[in-house]
């Protein structure tokens, strides 16, 4: 069987993983990697494999599950976004030293730009740090091919192997060849061998030199046996410029050179940036006087070179040290290094038109009807003087409502609340603090912080924004929901209230997020309790995410222009795409293109100008 389909890069990677005979796959969602695990489940079902596919509560959990499956001899994979690897860094570093058994693929998806991340870090650097091999695909088609080689390499050298797709590979759509599954019949068999599976310091003394040896053996292979990923596209005439490019930057360069009709530029494609096939790269450099290196986002190829004097790259400022290498930017860099005229940038007329028409980029916003908006409104109205550490999820967009004062990484809302409490306590001052965290994030990394806060008697209110979904990344389940990844495969729901109590919290109450008046009462009570008993108090705000499209009351609303005084309170404190301020009439109005008729804003206007229209419409 052989046929073609248009797939998302992530679907292509997933297809490769299933075709390559992976039997255990684990992940925690994170853009741009999130579609991979659900696609693995889909392909496995289509192709009739028995692949076990599960979400871990966080990336460390997922990595360790997949690692152990490899110890037992199965082909396995762990999938995460780049910052997920920070969370999984501990097992990643350990397991990199191991002589693993079944092929173990780590997919770490990078996000140059960034489009949906808190950093622009380069996972290839992490591969270098751990001394493991890394594949850097330029297209979805290549990403799928690389999966097979990564498994093969991983098994032959008994080493964790990384596939590092960037966001433009993950989220590209391309026609991809579908193949059949490689039949691997390999029953699970964990062979007890403490020297192999226990990371005692004594083992490291053996494993570390062995890891160095593996790396050099793999480098040798990358020099000679991987010409499908590392190759030169020679210039037709004598080359004026040599371009060394990896990842999607290579694809962009090729399209530009084609459009130019350039015949005097040669390109060296590097698909295995670590360990770098040094001889191949140095040979290319020796044959060119003018060389530019294009890679995202850190100078990983550049840094492995012994001699950079001929190189135009990040080390000498020819390539910007931050941001995505977009096609326009790559064209500009190529023009500069060639001494050609740089094409003119944004047109002055279009800029002027955008200014005249008052057009600015539209920032992301909480969806109309989103329960988080109502929750933030209630909290701010109750404790306006509080500090609001928050966390990572859709609710980070509460920054538009003045409700997100500090965000660091997943789970830090709780530990930041602790630290802020300690800072004010040092002065003997009372400072209201309300931390907000999502349900998925709470299970990801909220639990240890909460146990620590209870133990240390920290006074603050923790609000868990429970929309029964991991919404930001597209709607995955998690331990607090119970449904498993595959449709119809049920897990067991971990009770959120119970988990909170299990961390030692004495005061935990739940409110319907749309119910502003009850929510306000509970936030106030929680703060009073926290102060009186010197402990964190928890309020769970619950209402299903709009992405779940659950049935709820439909309450059409309108703004009464007689009552609206144009104070913009609703705009500033509620910040809904469905509520807009008309600069001409100086009144708010409902934009029906966006309003979902949740009716919450009726209770927001202090002048009673937002009214239900049900009666009138009937």
């Amino acid at each position: 069987m052989s046929n073609k389909a248009i797939l998302l890069g992530n679907e292509a990677i997933a297809r490769g993983i299933v075709e390559a005979g992976c039997e255990v796959a684990a992940a925690y969602p994170g853009t741009p990697s999130s579609e991979i695990l659900p696609s693995i489940a889909k392909w496995a079902d289509d192709l009739g494999t028995r692949t076990i596919v599960e979400w871990g509560a966080n990336e460390k959990v997922a990595f360790e599950m997949a690692a152990a499956a490899s110890f037992a001899g199965k082909r396995s994979c762990a999938v995460m976004k780049q910052v997920g690897l920070n969370v999984a860094a501990d097992p990643f570093m350990s397991v990199s030293h191991f002589d693993i058994k079944g092929g173990f693929l780590l997919v770490a998806a990078d996000d140059p730009g960034p489009h949906s991340s808190q950093t622009e870090q380069d996972s290839r650097f992490f591969a270098m740090f751990a001394k493991i091999p890394c594949f850097d695909p330029a297209t979805a088609v290549e990403a799928k091919e690389m999966v097979f080689d990564a498994y093969d390499l991983s098994e032959r050298h008994k080493i964790v192997t990384m596939l590092r797709p960037g966001v433009r590979v993950d989220h590209c759509r391309q026609d991809v060849e579908l193949k059949d599954v490689i039949e691997i019949s390999r029953p699970a068999s964990f062979e007890k061998d403490p020297r192999r599976w226990v990371c005692l310091p004594a083992s490291v003394r053996v494993n570390h030199p062995q890891l160095n040896a593996k790396r050099e053996a793999i480098r040798e292979e990358f020099e000679t046996r991987f010409s499908r990923y590392n190759y030169e596209v020679p210039a037709k005439k004598k080359a004026r410029l040599g371009v060394i490019a990896g990842g999607v930057s290579f694809s962009i360069v090729m399209d530009i050179l084609k459009a130019w009709g350039a015949d005097d530029i040669s390109v060296l494609k590097i698909g295995t940036p670590h360990p770098l096939p040094l001889k191949m790269v140095e040979d290319f450099i020796s044959r060119h006087d003018n060389v530019v290196v294009l890679e995202e986002t850190y100078p990983v190829i550049e840094m492995q070179l012994n001699d950079r004097t001929k190189i135009k790259g990040r080390w000498n400022g020819w390539v910007p040290g931050a941001g995505e290498l977009l096609p326009e930017l790559i064209e500009e860099i190529l023009c500069r290094v060639l001494g050609k005229e740089v094409p003119e940038g944004a047109s002055a007329e279009l800029k002027k038109a955008a200014e005249d028409l008052n057009i600015t980029p539209r920032p992301p916003m909480l969806c109309p009807g989103c329960p988080h908006r109502a929750s933030f409104f209630s909290i701010r109205q109750t404790l306006p003087k509080a500090i609001y550490p928050s966390d990572i999820g859709c609710y980070t967009l509460g920054v538009n409502q003045g409700m997100v004062d500090a965000v660091v990484d997943m789970g830090a809302s709780i530990t930041l609340a602790s630290g802020l409490f300690m800072a004010y306590k040092a002065d003997g001052k009372e400072q209201p603090i309300v931390a907000t965290i999502g349900d998925s994030t709470f299970f990801h990394m909220g639990l240890p912080g909460l146990a620590s806060a209870v133990y240390n008697k920290h006074i603050f209110v923790l609000v868990i924004l429970d929309n029964s979904l991991t919404a930001m990344t597209g709607g995955q389940s998690h331990p607090g929901i119970g449904d498993k990844l595959r449709k119809g495969e049920t897990g067991r729901r971990v009770d959120l209230e119970g988990a909170v109590k299990g961390c030692g919290v004495n005061w935990v109450k739940t409110t319907e997020a749309y119910d502003i008046s009850t929510s306000r009462t509970l936030v106030k009570e929680a703060w009073e309790h926290a102060k009186a008993h010197e402990e964190p108090a928890v309020v769970i705000f619950r209402h299903p995410c709009m992405l779940l499209r659950q049935k709820q009351a439909v309450i059409p609303v309108t703004v009464d222009p007689e009552k609206c005084i144009g104070c913009k309170f609703c705009i500033n404190f509620f910040n809904c795409p469905g509520l807009v301020f008309d600069e001409k009439s100086k009144k708010a109005y409902i934009d029906e293109r966006f309003c979902v008729k949740c009716g919450v804003c009726i209770n927001v206007c202090p002048h009673g100008a937002i009214l239900a229209t049900e009666g009138e419409e009937a």
Partner: protein, 185 residues
């Protein structure tokens, strides 16, 4: 053929490139494109690139696009620079007066760019009970109505029939036809 599709997260713009992809594949052509997932999907500006032919990079470079499909007129103005000399923009508009802006007019005539507008919101409100989610196929109909984009209305209808969920096929086809009839040429 290079398309750029722009709009606001939540408008369902990803479906539009899926339709274009389906058509290209059934013609035996190669495709590559780029989508936005994640944070920006929450009501922010979103952009899809889609290329049919012998390309390797998923992104359209500024001044290279043949067609700009805009679900929102503001997003259209912000992304017109993707169009090549002589390109076409199909713009869903709620307030067509914007097109009279003198700087915009000058840029359009300097660059030989043609703008085709369609009052998608009005049409969907009038004809389909305000179900604005059908904008994504309406705009494809409008593209065919404007006679650009290198696909026929029949191809769009057929692709939509295959790709849309069964119970919405009729509505989708209706929206395609409404767009076809409603586009300015």
């Amino acid at each position: 053929m290079q398309y750029v599709i722009v709009g606001i997260g939540g408008q369902g713009i990803l479906f539009t490139s899926r339709v274009l992809g389906h058509i290209a594949l059934s013609r035996g052509e190669r495709v590559v494109g780029s989508e936005v997932h994640g944070m920006a999907q929450r009501g922010g500006s979103v952009i899809s690139h889609f290329k049919v032919g012998d390309y390797s990079s998923p992104m359209v470079k500024a001044k290279d696009a043949d067609v700009l499909l805009a679900f929102d007129q503001n997003e259209a103005v912000r992304n017109l620079h993707f169009l090549k000399q002589g390109g076409h923009a199909i713009i869903n508009t709620h307030d067509p007066a914007f097109i009279e802006n003198p700087s915009l007019r000058k840029w359009m005539s300097d660059h030989g760019v043609t703008v085709h507008t369609v009052m998608g919101y009005d049409i969907l409100k009038r004809e389909m009970g305000g179900r604005f989610l059908f904008l994504n196929v309406l705009i494809l109909g409008a593209m065919c109505g404007a006679g650009v984009g290198n696909v026929t209305i029949e191809e769009v209808r057929e692709a939509v029939k295959v790709l849309a969920p069964a119970k919405f096929v009729e509505d989708n086809v209706k929206a395609v036809d409404l767009g076809y009839a409603g586009a300015s040429r």
